[in-house]
Symmetry: C2
Subunit: 480 residues, 2 copies
């Protein structure tokens, strides 16, 4: 039989060129393909299956917390976008404008939603009248458009997929609680399901979402020491309600303005997975979101009984709820090993005539290539244990990378030295609260403020920049 | 306790004004809300939950048939849209054009996808090289935009949600088989899950999809006798492949053009559900897609033990996998009955102190208001049986409506008479195959060709219009 000509090409090593290593994985693991639509991409089946798994887990979590899904239009009339001053200032420069419908010129041009606060506000104004109508806990899974100048698959593209939660509440306390609840939900998802450690914190004022009173974020450290914002949660106070005339009759029978939140994560999480767990052999996927959790590679599959046994094993694992694939194509086992390493399949099961004779198989975990011989009678338990071992293993590896690359610094010279000696990473440093110092730190050292971590560690009394009394410990880093 | 002021408003009766009855249901069952974006709508939680159920069932069916989900960009450069002549002619007049990104004018303007054949073709050209790369069986769940002049919720809106399947095959036979397989998949879904009888057939040439060699469709008859196209499946031959330069090396080592299909259903299905099953009390939902399959309404809920028992029943049904809601709000039972009838909940369970004493409850089915006293020990089985009874009952009702309103006519006078005497409906009539006759029938009688049914019934030898020899029996109707 003719062999399939496709080979698993080697990818650029991450030490040689991290950016190229990243895009190599995106294309060679068949996550994306480029298109003639500048800054946009095709998310291919393997990439989209990861997103579907992320969606399933998050959607279940959101619904368990009482949220309902809705769907708003993808267009926002310019006049509607302009209603909240800060919001339009933040977003107008980077939106795509629809000016014609068919051959007709539109009177009020429409932007393709960059985010949907304005549409939700218009809707709330129509449906919220009494405290009995509150809260509304909404979410939608859609794509949004932001006209970025430079783009990279998953990390920064002109169109990206996301979920945007939008909620509206009777009191500020309730809204703030929701903001925090959803940040915790994201953090828990990232750590448990994506095996990616994150720091929870509040953004400084200069880094808030356009129109928000407070923005909270989770920050992760990538393998190359750069920081990636993995999710955000915003508290709006009643600013949007006032701009859009949303009012309700309270328990005291008086008119009041409700308080709002919004929160979102995007396909950027797939970029985060790549850069947190990947290695020079390709992708390494957290089992919870891996489209294939275990792949069975038969060895000497033409020998009698091998494919039969492999199929038995396949059915057994499938019945146990494991996402399993049996590759009985005519490629060599070596080719298949490389292919599924590239695709980051957490567990590989090798099964040849000798194994079958001995009533066992070989299990190899992707992240550490550890081999285990397992009796076929204990297969399901062992595969499940190995999937958990992968999760735990890649989480610990990522955590160690972050610990090793987190530098506590007392002045900007220390920051510069730490980065020079140890490479990019998170910098912990005290801050006086002035934007001027924030800017100056960035100018002098290259790292910007990522967030003010909830978990504070006040190891110095003075600002890393001006030396005046410090208010907060800030986490700094180079951003993606 | 203060009562919630919201009341269940009566809706316009369908006999009085079918169009108003329809939009009343859309808004009062809280399926949609209008927005300031002309021709677009908010799909509210209850409406979106129906769509989510449709998606879940169809997505499972598609995947079982080997399809994979992908995601293409929402934009198509004008130059790409223009590659296939018929296709661009069909769609260009009704697309929304993005001309500016931020403050910059685009060189090649982008349309918001009205459908994605051109993007899939561009992608295929990049990834299909050998017969070994075929077939590709892709699907995506996205929204598309068509700049309609007059719009109605779900039936015709400028933006709508849909799935678009796109497949590419080695041979025409395989592609035609896929086209038919997916039409059958849609028909089976409509009849089994939506309880909506459909006629499968082929569109006449004048009614084909822009760029298709053949378009197949399923047609349903609404309660008012109008026809609704509920799903389509297109066979493209190799026309797109030639226009986009998609070629593969065949088994004979020669270059060849592959053959393609596409197929889709949209949120229009929700409109079809409303107009097939709804009545003057509101929506009637097929159990398979009902967000709430059974609602528990406690009677005299302030009496000791009632809410406790209601909660027990709730937990029991939930554990059995039934989508159940317990409404223990302080509205009266009568208000709740009306509210959940409006929302089309298939089964209502009434539970009061006397029922509890007798170890029973009352089950009322939505479509026929039939009451059944059921021992609480047999609750799960009975509710499941009732859900099946609703499905069967509404399917039969819709089928009877269609049979009653299907008229076999031998000439245009008979058509006019049948429609006048019995109201709008499907007309079966023989056709010579000439577009001229097709147009003339429409002009004279008001009904257009819906499809050439696969199930032919050649009850006359001559064309209903010109009297020349007939080639096919055509199904005619007034379109939504």
């Amino acid at each position: 039989m003719a062999k399939n000509k496709k080979m698993v090409d080697a990818i650029t090593s991450m030490d040689e060129d991290f950016a190229k290593w990243y895009t190599d994985i995106c294309t060679k693991a068949e996550l994306i393909a480029y298109t003639s639509v500048k800054g946009c991409m095709v998310i291919r089946p393997y990439g989209y299956a990861i997103w579907e798994n992320i969606q399933k887990i998050l959607d279940t979590r959101f619904k368990a917390l009482g949220h309902e899904n809705v769907c708003m239009p993808m267009f926002i009339p310019e006049s509607l976008l302009q209603k909240e001053k800060d919001h339009v200032e933040g977003f107008a420069p980077e939106v795509a404008w629809v000016t014609h419908g068919g051959s007709e010129k539109l009177e009020d041009r429409l932007c393709v939603r960059p985010t949907s606060e304005t549409l939700f506000c218009e809707h709330y104004a129509n449906i919220v009248h009494s405290y009995r109508d509150l809260p509304k806990l909404y979410n939608q899974w859609v794509s949004v458009v932001r006209w970025e100048k430079t783009t990279r698959p998953f990390l920064r593209s002109r169109e990206f997929l996301w979920q945007e939660g939008h909620t509206i509440h009777e009191t500020p306390e309730e809204a703030i609680e929701e903001t925090e609840r959803m940040l915790n939900c994201y953090a828990d998802f990232c750590e448990k399901d994506l095996a990616m450690p994150v720091v929870k914190g509040r953004k400084t004022d200069s880094d808030k979402f356009a129109g928000a009173e407070a923005t909270y974020a989770i920050e992760a450290l990538m393998h190359d020491g750069k920081a990636l914002q993995a999710g955000t949660s915003h508290y709006f106070g009643d600013g949007f309600a006032k701009a859009f005339g949303i009012q309700f009759t309270g328990r005291d029978n008086k008119l009041a303005f409700p308080h709002q939140t919004s929160w979102g994560v995007t396909t950027r999480l797939i970029g985060a997975i790549i850069m947190t767990h990947g290695d020079d052999n390709g992708l390494v996927l957290p089992p919870a979101v891996a489209p294939i959790q275990a792949v069975i590679v038969p060895v000497q599959q033409f020998k009698e009984g091998v494919l039969e046994k492999a199929n038995e094993v396949y059915e057994q694992l499938k019945a146990a709820g494991i996402r399993v694939k049996l590759d009985d194509s005519d490629q060599s086992p070596g080719w298949k090993f490389a292919e599924y390493e590239m695709k980051g399949v957490p567990v590989r099961i090798e099964l040849g005539p000798k194994d079958i004779e001995n009533g066992q198989c070989v299990i190899v975990t992707r992240h550490d290539r550890e081999k285990t011989f397992t009796p076929l009678t204990e297969l399901v338990e062992t595969v499940n244990a190995k999937l958990e071992a992968v999760r735990e293993g890649i989480f610990q590896k990522a955590l160690e990378n972050r610990e090793r690359r987190t530098y506590a610094c007392k002045n900007t010279d220390e920051i510069i030295k730490a980065l020079e000696e140890n490479g990019d990473g998170f910098v912990k440093a005290m801050w006086c609260g002035e934007e001027e110092c924030e800017d100056k730190v960035k100018e002098l050292t290259g790292v910007g403020s990522r967030c003010i971590p909830f978990e504070q560690d006040n190891f110095s009394d003075v600002c890393v920049c001006c030396g005046k009394p410090a208010k907060k410990m800030v986490l700094w880093g180079k951003a993606y």
